[in-house]
Symmetry: C2
């Protein structure tokens, strides 16, 4: 037989209303990745909106919850968020102003600023847990559990290839 399906104009190509097919597998994967992440991020944004926090703020709070009593310093937070320090400083300013985070100079090394989740911050996170689970499930709604695992592994490979 000549062909089973070849490149019968992909789903993404239609979404973008492109007349031409993608230049390469790499290009389509790249565009698809950014676009899918935008969709997932948007869903998370909606999920968190009722609580008055943004997605990056939520990530910071969750990381601090994971850090426990010892807290984390600003640059450690930046590193885990794959982000530059300036943005973190300003986000922490806002989170501290709303009493979800507490900061203080480290005694050991006075250059460091250690950050902790406050009790109020913990209460806020606790309230989000239920809807957060729902948003997670929504992200893989179209996938079987096996496909979900497959996706996770492919994403791992993409990141390690770019490292």
């Amino acid at each position: 037989m000549l062909m089973a399906k070849s490149s019968a104009s992909s789903a993404l190509q239609k979404e973008l209303k492109q007349s031409k097919p993608f230049r390469s597998v790499g290009h389509e994967a790249s565009v698809g990745l950014l676009r899918t992440a935008d969709v997932v991020r948007r869903r998370w944004t909606e999920t968190l909106a009722p609580f008055g926090i943004t997605v990056p703020q939520y990530n910071v709070l969750r990381i601090l919850r994971g850090a426990g009593k010892e807290g984390l310093c600003t640059l450690e937070l930046a590193e885990r968020l794959i982000e530059r320090a300036p943005g973190i400083t300003r986000m922490l300013d806002r989170l501290e102003a709303r009493s979800w985070v507490r900061r203080e100079r480290s005694v050991d090394d006075r250059r460091e600023v250690r950050c902790y989740l406050t009790t109020q911050g913990m209460r806020l996170l606790a309230r989000t847990d239920e809807v957060a689970d729902q948003a997670d499930q929504a992200a893989v709604l179209g996938l079987s559990k096996a496909e979900g695992r497959e996706l996770i592994q492919l994403l791992d490979k993409v990141r390690s290839g770019l490292a």
Copy 2:
């Protein structure tokens, strides 16, 4: 046998220095997706920096190139970028100031603003084409061609599940 590997603390879990495993496949996929997109975006940002344009600007220019002589109106651009109009207006302000884009009121419907790529804009894009291909390839460096296609399909499913 008891188990082959179970959830032997995932790659992502280590990247994030998390002591606890992810709550669910959905959660890990969700986090992995956002994180991988950040990495890919960063690579694109570096690739485009020498040309003095950002990733969103590059996307707008490419969409306008694809639109050809008829151009596109602001909201059509917004729709293809999965983004709100306000951001587009301001980005177009900057692109027009740099002479890569031209805008004019539509004659048919004076509410619309039609946007076109200028000759200078085309020249700029032409110069980026080579490195753009390289960045695309880098994104799937860790993947075989078959895995690349697999990833594309899984991402399609995620988006259609969230639609």
